[in-house]
C-alpha cells in the first residue's frame, strides 16, 4: 500500500502550525494538537500499585523454583593480576555444593578488583559462599593504576595491552562515530568542532579557563543484578532476570550457549530499578548470565545468582568520572567560543564521554569544540547511566558559563537565552524564571554575600537536551479483543518502574473507548512479543505507537463485525463514549458485539514506523526530535560547616504528549532526586594503594535520603511533535541532565566562589572559601 499524506497541527502552545507529513499506509493517524483524548493524558494511577504495596509483586530476587540452587562468585582481590593456577576441587565436596566453575583460567589477566574468578552453586546461599573460600587460586599481582590522572602519565601501568572494542547497550545514545586509537591508557573519542575555536579564543575579550571534575557514580538500584536460569532440555531455557532489556538477555544467553533466540524465554515480572546498568544477562563487569547458565547446566538444576550490595557497586557498572578543561571566550557580551577537553575513566571499560551539552546546547555560539577521551584504569567498567555523559558535561559547561557571565558582568540566564536557539527551551527558561522568582532571588543572594552572613542562599539554572530515539519496528504489540469483552494487550516490554503497562492500558482504553478495567496488559515476558529495552528514554515512544496501531487495526475488524451486525456499510458505524456501536438506527453494545466474534478473539499485531516529524526542532545532527528542558535550583549553605542543602528545584520539561501526568511527574521527581544526590553525596572511592573500593555499601556510599530532598516543582510544556502516532517522547533521562549543574551554579551564586568538583561536600565548600570564614570585627 502506498504512503499517504496527512496534515497535522504540531508544535507547542503559542507556536502551533500545520505540518504535512507522509505516513506509511498502515500507520494510525497521529494524535496531534487537535485530537481530543479522554483517557490518554489523564491522571491514571499506576495499575500495579496495589501489588507493590502488598508485597505481591514478584521480583527476580523473589522467584523460587523447586530444587533451585544458589550461586556465589569468587572475585579477584587484586586490581591487576595474572592467574597462575586455580584449583576448585576442595570446594566440590562441600556440604550442599552441586557445581563448581572456574571462570578464569591460568594465564588470564585480571584487570580490576572484583573480576570473576570462579563460582559455586549450592543448595543454600551460605553454603555457596563458604565453598568459595576453599577455591585455591595463585595470583601474580601486576602493577595497576586506579586514578584517572595517574593513568594518564607516560609511565603508568598499561591497563589494556591491545585496543579494546566498545561495549554498547541500549542505554547508550545511538549513532556515535568510531573512537580513535589508544595512546598509553588514553583513547580519544570522536571530536566535535564547528567554527575555529583557537582563533575565537584569541579574539575574545574575556576568557574563562578552569578544570571541572566529576566523580564516579554507581547506579545503586535497590534490587541488585541477578538471574535465575532453568534449562528446559538441552536446547532451550527459561531465564528470570532483573533486567531493563528482556530481549538483550535473550540474545546474550542464546549467543553464549549457542541456542536459537526463540528457545530462550526471559521473564521479568517486576524489576527493582536499573538506570542503565541492567542490559544483557550479564553485568558490565561480571558474566552473570554465563555463570548461572553454566552452573545450571553442570548441576542439572535451576541456579539463581544474585549480586550482593558489594558486588553491585564493584562490578555492575557506573557513571564514569571526568576532568574537563573548559575554556570559554566572551566577546562584546556574547559567548564566542566553547572549548572542552575531557578525560574520564570508565575503569577497564569505555564510554567516558561528556555528552552533547557543550556542543549542541548553545548553538548560537559560533565556535565550539569538544574533545573527550577514555582513560583506562584498573576499576570496574563504566556503562550507560541515565543520560550517559550529559550530567557530567552539563556540570562543567553550565558552571563555567556562570563564571564567564560573572566576568562579563551579565546575568547568567540572559547569557543562556542569547545563545539557545531552541524555541521551546527559550520559553521554558523564561516561564521558569518567572515562576521561580529568578531576578529577586539573585538579588537576595547578592545581599547575603555582601553582608557576609553565615548562611547564604543561591540560585542557579541549567538546561537539558536529549533526543527522541524512539525505535522503529522494534516493539511488536498484539491486541486481542476477546469474546468476553476483555481487551488484551501484549508486548514483552519490562517495566523498569516508569509505568509503561499503565500507559499501554490507557492507549487501549482510548482507542476502544472502553473502561480501563476491561483492559488487560501482558508484559515482562519475551513470549509476549519483541520489545525495546528501557534505555535512551525510548520505551513509551517505541511501544505505545505499536500498541496503538495494533488496537486501531483490531478496531477496524471490530467495526466490520459491527457493520455486519447492524447491516450497514462499515463506514457508517459510529462508536459512542462507552464503546457501543451505532448505525442504521440500531445499536449494539461492546459486550454484545464481542459475543459475535467468530472464534475466540479478534487479533491484530503491529509495530511502529520510523519517526516522521520533529516539531519544533530536531536533535542536532539527526532527524530525531530534540527534547528540551531546564531546571532552576535554590540552595542554602552554612559557610561555617560547609553543609549544603538543596532547598528547591523547579523542573520545566517537555516530553512530547503528556501520556499520564502522574507517572510523568514521578519520573521527573526521580531525575531531580538522583541529580541532587549526584551533586551533593555520591562518590565511589577507590583506594590508591590497594586498588579496591573503600565504600562498596550504602552506608558510606551515600544516596539522597528522605530528609535531603528539595521541594520539587514540575512544569510541563506539552509538545505535539509529529514524531509518532501517540506523540510520546521520553523523560527518564532529560529529567536528570541539568540538576547537578543547576545546584553547582546555585552554590556558586551563594558563595561567590565556585566549587568545581562533584560531589559538593562540606569539605570542598570550606576549601573553596579558602579560609576559616572570618566574622567582621
Amino acid at each position: 500500500m502506498a504512503d499517504r499524506k496527512q496534515t497535522l497541527r504540531l508544535g507547542f502552545e503559542g507556536h502551533l502550525r500545520k505540518v504535512d507529513v507522509t505516513l506509511p499506509a498502515t500507520e494510525a493517524t497521529p494524535w496531534d494538537a487537535d485530537s481530543k483524548l479522554e483517557i490518554v493524558g489523564t491522571e491514571v494511577p499506576r495499575l500495579d500499585g496495589h501489588l507493590k504495596v502488598s508485597g505481591r509483586a514478584k521480583y527476580t530476587f523473589d522467584v523460587a523454583l523447586p530444587g533451585m540452587l544458589w550461586a556465589a562468585v569468587l572475585r579477584s582481590p587484586h586490581p591487576a593480576a595474572r592467574i597462575e593456577s586455580i584449583d576448585v576441587s576442595k570446594a566440590e565436596g562441600q556440604p550442599g555444593v552441586k557445581a563448581v566453575l572456574a571462570v578464569a583460567k591460568p594465564g588470564d589477566t585480571l584487570r580490576f578488583a572484583g573480576q570473576d574468578v570462579a563460582a559455586v552453586a549450592a543448595e543454600r546461599p551460605e553454603q555457596a559462599r563458604d565453598a568459595l573460600a576453599l577455591i585455591e587460586v595463585r595470583y601474580t599481582p601486576l602493577p595497576f593504576v586506579v586514578d584517572t590522572e595517574g593513568a594518564m602519565r607516560d609511565k603508568a601501568p598499561r591497563v589494556h595491552e591491545a585496543p579494546i572494542t566498545e561495549r554498547r547497550t541500549e542505554g547508550d545514545e545511538p549513532g556515535k562515530a568510531k573512537a580513535g586509537g589508544m595512546q598509553g591508557n588514553v583513547r580519544a573519542l570522536p571530536p566535535n568542532e564547528r567554527g575555529n575555536v583557537d582563533k575565537a579564543l584569541r579574539e575574545s575579550d574575556v576568557v574563562h579557563e578552569a578544570t571541572y571534575v566529576t566523580q564516579v557514580q554507581t547506579h545503586s538500584a535497590l534490587e541488585t543484578h541477578g538471574v535465575l536460569v532453568r534449562w528446559d532440555g538441552d536446547q532451550s531455557m527459561t531465564v528470570w532476570a532483573s533486567t531493563q532489556g528482556i530481549f538483550s538477555v535473550r540474545d546474550e544467553m542464546a549467543e553464549v550457549f549457542g541456542l536459537a533466540p526463540s528457545k530462550v524465554r526471559v521473564i521479568t515480572e517486576y524489576l527493582g530499578g536499573g538506570f542503565g546498568a541492567k542490559f544483557g544477562a550479564s553485568a558490565p563487569g561480571s558474566r552473570l548470565g554465563f555463570i548461572a547458565g553454566e552452573l545450571s547446566r553442570l548441576a542439572r538444576a535451576p541456579v539463581k545468582l544474585m549480586c550482593d550490595r558489594h558486588e553491585e557497586h564493584v562490578c555492575t557498572g557506573n557513571r564514569p568520572d571526568s576532568r574537563q578543561a573548559v575554556a570559554l571566550g566572551g566577546r562584546r557580551g556574547k559567548l564566542h567560543a566553547i572549548d572542552v577537553v575531557a578525560h574520564g575513566t570508565a575503569g577497564i571499560g569505555t564510554g567516558a564521554g561528556v555528552g552533547r551539552n557543550a556542543f549542541s546546547l548553545y548553538t548560537r555560539c559560533p565556535n565550539a569544540r569538544v574533545r573527550a577521551h577514555d582513560v583506562f584504569t584498573n576499576g570496574g567498567p563504566g556503562t550507560a547511566m541515565r543520560a550517559p555523559g550529559h550530567p557530567q558535561g552539563a556540570f562543567a559547561l553550565e558552571l563555567a558559563l556562570d563564571e564567564l557571565a560573572a566576568k562579563m558582568g551579565v546575568d547568567p540566564l540572559k547569557l543562556r537565552l542569547d545563545h539557545d536557539e531552541h524555541p521551546l527551551r527559550s520559553m521554558q527558561l523564561r516561564q521558569g524564571a518567572e515562576r521561580f522568582g529568578w531576578d529577586e532571588l539573585r538579588k537576595r543572594s547578592a545581599q547575603l554575600r555582601s553582608r557576609n552572613t553565615r548562611v547564604r542562599k543561591g540560585v542557579g539554572v541549567a538546561s537539558s537536551l536529549w533526543g527522541d530515539f524512539g525505535r522503529a519496528n522494534a516493539a511488536v504489540a498484539t491486541c486481542s479483543v476477546l469474546r468476553d469483552g476483555t481487551i488484551e494487550l501484549k508486548n514483552g516490554v519490562q517495566d523498569i518502574g516508569g509505568g509503561i503497562p499503565t500507559v499501554i492500558a490507557q492507549v487501549g482504553a482510548e482507542v476502544f473507548a472502553r473502561p480501563l478495567s476491561t483492559i488487560r496488559v501482558r508484559y515482562g515476558d519475551s513470549d509476549y512479543g519483541p520489545s525495546v529495552g528501557s534505555g535512551g528514554s525510548t520505551t513509551t515512544s517505541s511501544v505505545t505507537p505499536a500498541v496503538r496501531n495494533a488496537c486501531e487495526q483490531a478496531r477496524v475488524a471490530l467495526q466490520e463485525l459491527a457493520a455486519k451486525q447492524l447491516k450497514v456499510p462499515a463506514g457508517e458505524v459510529r462508536w459512542d463514549g462507552d464503546g457501543t456501536a451505532h448505525g442504521g438506527g440500531g445499536s449494539i453494545t461492546f459486550g454484545q458485539l464481542c459475543k459475535k466474534i467468530d472464534g475466540e478473539a479478534i487479533v491484530a499485531t503491529a509495530t511502529r514506523p520510523a519517526t516522521y516529524g520533529h516539531e519544533p526542532m530536531a536533535f542536532p545532527g539527526s532527524k530525531f526530535y530534540q527534547i528540551a528542558g531546564a531546571q532552576f535550583a535554590e540552595v542554602e549553605v552554612d559557610t561555617w560547616t560547609g553543609v549544603v542543602r538543596a532547598t528547591r528545584v523547579l523542573a520545566v520539561h517537555d516530553c512530547g504528549r503528556v501520556m499520564n501526568p502522574l507517572t510523568l511527574r514521578s519520573q521527573i521527581n526521580g531525575g531531580v532526586i538522583q541529580g541532587t544526590s549526584y551533586a551533593l553525596m555520591e562518590e565511589r572511592v577507590l583506594d590508591g594503594d590497594l586498588g579496591r573500593m573503600l565504600n562498596p555499601n550504602l552506608e558510606s556510599y551515600k544516596i539522597l535520603g528522605a530528609r535531603d530532598v528539595p521541594e520539587i516543582e514540575v512544569m510541563l510544556t506539552e509538545v505535539h511533535t509529529g514524531a509518532n502516532n501517540t506523540g510520546a517522547v521520553g523523560i527518564g533521562e532529560p529529567a536528570t541532565v541539568p540538576t547537578a549543574a543547576a545546584i553547582a551554579c546555585a552554590v556558586y551564586d551563594a558563595l561567590g566562589v565556585p566549587v568545581r568538583s562533584l560531589p559538593i561536600t562540606p569539605a570542598k565548600v570550606l576549601e573553596a572559601l579558602g579560609m576559616i570564614p572570618g566574622r567582621p570585627a
Binding site: S54, D62, G96, V455, T641, S666, D708
Partner: protein, 516 residues
C-alpha cells in the same frame, strides 16, 4: 511467658499472627533470611543486608517499651533470629486482608488493603516498587504512633527507607495522611493483647554439621545467670539490637559460637529521670532515649536525631553504641560534656568510671574481663549551663560524622566558670578540647571569647584525613563550632533542632542569622 524445654529450647515467635517454632537453624540466621527462606515470605526485600536501605523493614511488637507495648519498625536484615524469641513479627504480607491469594501482574485491585497501603497507592509512592514493602512497614509504625506531632518526626520516621526512583515526596505525603491514625483494627487489638513483659528466656543450641560450626544462643533472665554464662564461655559475645554485630554476620560471614542477648534482663532497660539525675540503662533503645530527652535534655536529643534511621534507633542500644567505642561514637561527646558516669558491673559488684576514663583507646573501653556496662548516670546541666551538640556529616541521617561535638559552658555573672567541650572524630577516642576550654574559662561569655578560644583547637587535636574529611576540614569545622556555640545558645541555653531541615547544623533558629 517462658518457653523452656528440658534440655534445649526452640526459638518461638509469631509471624503475622502465626506461631512458629524454629529448631534446626543457625542462631546467626537473620530474620530476613528466615522470612524469605523457610517462612516463604518474599514480600520483605533485601536491598543491602547492612541496615542502610530499609527494604527489609518489618514491624516487631516490643512488649517492654516505655509506656507499654508498641510497634517498632526494624531492619530484619540485621536482627538475628533468636532475638525474636517470644516476639510478634509483622511483615507486609500481614496487612492486606486477602494478601498472598493472588500473584502475577493482575492480582487484584486492592480491596482489603490497610490504610497505609491505600494511602501509598493514592499518592503514587511506588515507581519500581522494590523499596515499597519496607516503606509500608515504616508507615505502619507511623500509623500507630501517637506522637508524630511535628514535621521533623515524619521525616525521622521515614528516613531509613531509601528509594532510588522517585518516591520521597509522595511517600511523605502518604505518611502525613496516616500518621497517628491508630485505626481500631486487628493490629491495635493484637497490641493490646501482648502482656507487659514476656521476658522470654532461651537456651538454644545449634549442632553444626558438614563443616558448619556448633553455635549457642542464650537469653538469660537475670544478671547472675549472665555472670554464669560469661564464666563458662569466655568467647561469649553480647548482643541486643545487633545493629553492629549483625554486620559481622552478614558482611564478614562470622558464625559466633556463643552469643547472649541482654534483652530479657529488666534492670538493664531502665530509663529514669528523677531528682536532677538521669539513669540510662545499657539496653535502652536509642529511639526511647531520644523521646525521653527531646524536651528534658536537648543536647542528647540533637545528637540522636541524625544518629541513625528510625529502624536503627528502634533496635540499637545505648550500651551497644558506647561499648563499641568508635572514635566518632556520637553519644560519647554528649556524655563527656554532661559529665556522665559509666556504671559497670561484674559478679563482685558495681564500679563507677567517669565517662572521660571509659574510652581508653581506639575501639577500646575500660571494661575488664567479666564486666558488663550496665548504665550511664548523669546530672541535669545546672541552670547556668549552656549546652549545644552538633553532628556534621555529608548526609543528614545515618551518616558517620566527620565531626561530632557537644559543647558546654557554665556562665556566672557573664563570665565562663567552667567549660566541657567534647569532640568526636578528632582523635582516636572521643575527647575534650582542654586547651580551648582553658582559653574560655575566666573569660567574659562573648563571641570574641569564643573566636579567640577557637584558635586553640590545633593545640588539642591533630585530626586525621580520610574520605569523610581532611584534617584541615575537621580542624576548621571544630573551630567554627566553638564560634557557633555563642550564637546558637544566645536565644536558648540548650537549643533543640528546627522543625524542618536546614543547612544549619547549628541553631534552632532560621537562616536569618547574620553578622552585618
Amino acid at each position: 511467658m517462658r518457653y523452656a524445654g528440658p534440655d534445649m529450647d526452640a526459638v518461638l515467635l509469631h509471624v503475622n499472627g502465626e506461631a512458629r517454632e524454629v529448631l534446626d537453624v543457625s542462631p546467626t540466621t537473620t530474620l530476613l533470611e528466615y522470612l524469605r527462606g523457610p517462612a516463604g515470605l518474599s514480600g520483605t526485600k533485601e536491598g543491602c543486608a547492612e541496615g542502610d536501605c530499609g527494604a527489609c523493614t518489618v514491624v516487631v511488637i516490643d512488649p517492654d517499651a516505655p509506656g507499654g507495648p508498641r510497634f517498632r519498625a526494624v531492619n530484619s536484615c540485621l536482627l538475628l533470629l533468636p532475638l525474636l524469641h517470644g516476639k510478634h513479627v509483622l511483615t507486609v504480607e500481614a496487612l492486606s486482608q486477602h494478601g498472598g491469594q493472588h500473584g502475577g501482574q493482575h492480582g487484584g485491585d486492592g480491596p482489603g488493603h490497610h490504610p497505609v497501603q491505600q494511602a501509598l497507592v493514592a499518592a503514587l509512592g511506588s515507581q519500581c516498587g522494590y523499596c515499597t514493602p519496607g516503606v509500608i512497614m515504616s508507615m505502619f509504625e507511623a500509623c500507630y504512633r501517637g506522637d508524630l506531632d511535628a514535621p521533623w518526626k515524619l521525616d525521622d520516621q521515614m528516613c531509613g527507607n531509601l528509594c532510588r526512583c522517585t518516591g520521597y515526596r509522595p511517600i511523605r505525603e502518604a505518611t502525613q495522611q496516616i500518621a497517628g491514625l491508630r485505626p481500631d483494627d486487628r493490629f491495635g487489638a493484637a497490641l493490646a493483647e501482648v502482656g507487659p513483659s514476656t521476658s522470654a528466656t532461651l537456651r538454644y543450641a545449634f549442632e553444626g554439621r558438614g563443616g558448619t560450626p556448633s553455635q549457642s544462643f542464650w537469653i538469660p533472665g537475670t544478671l547472675s545467670e549472665l555472670w554464669d554464662l560469661m564464666d563458662a564461655h569466655p568467647e561469649l559475645r553480647l548482643v541486643v539490637g545487633a545493629t553492629d554485630l549483625g554486620l559481622d554476620v552478614t558482611k564478614k560471614g562470622e558464625r559466633f559460637p556463643a552469643l547472649a542477648s541482654l534483652q530479657a534482663i529488666a534492670e538493664l532497660r531502665r530509663l529514669e529521670h528523677a531528682d536532677g539525675r538521669w539513669s540510662i540503662g545499657a539496653t535502652v533503645r536509642l529511639a526511647d532515649l531520644e523521646d525521653a530527652t527531646a524536651q528534658a535534655l536537648p543536647p542528647m536529643a540533637r545528637m540522636l536525631r541524625f544518629f541513625g534511621s528510625r529502624q536503627i534507633k528502634n533496635s540499637a542500644t545505648v550500651g551497644g553504641n558506647l561499648c563499641n567505642a568508635s572514635p566518632i561514637g556520637d553519644l560519647a561527646p554528649v556524655l563527656l560534656a554532661l559529665d556522665a558516669t559509666m556504671v559497670v558491673a561484674g559478679r563482685s559488684g558495681e564500679r563507677r568510671v567517669p565517662a572521660g576514663e571509659f574510652f581508653v583507646s581506639y575501639r577500646s573501653t575500660a571494661l575488664r574481663p567479666g564486666e558488663l556496662f550496665v548504665r550511664v548516670e548523669l546530672p541535669d546541666p545546672p541552670a547556668n549551663a549552656r549546652v549545644v551538640a552538633y553532628k556534621v556529616s555529608k548526609r543528614r541521617e545515618m551518616d558517620i560524622s566527620a565531626v561530632a561535638a557537644a559543647l558546654r559552658v557554665d556562665v556566672d555573672g557573664g563570665v565562663v566558670t567552667a567549660a566541657r567541650l567534647a569532640f568526636g572524630g578528632m582523635a582516636a577516642t572521643p575527647a575534650r578540647a582542654r586547651a580551648v576550654e582553658a582559653a574560655l574559662v575566666g573569660q567574659p561569655w562573648s563571641q570574641a571569647s569564643c573566636d579567640a578560644a577557637a584558635e586553640r583547637i590545633g593545640d588539642d587535636f591533630t585530626p586525621m584525613s580520610d574520605h569523610r574529611g581532611s584534617a584541615w576540614y575537621r580542624a576548621t569545622v571544630a573551630g567554627n563550632l566553638v564560634r557557633a556555640m555563642f550564637d546558637d545558645t544566645s536565644q536558648c541555653a540548650m537549643p533543640g533542632l528546627p522543625d524542618r531541615p536546614t543547612s544549619m547544623v547549628g541553631t534552632a533558629g532560621s537562616s536569618s542569622v547574620h553578622h552585618p
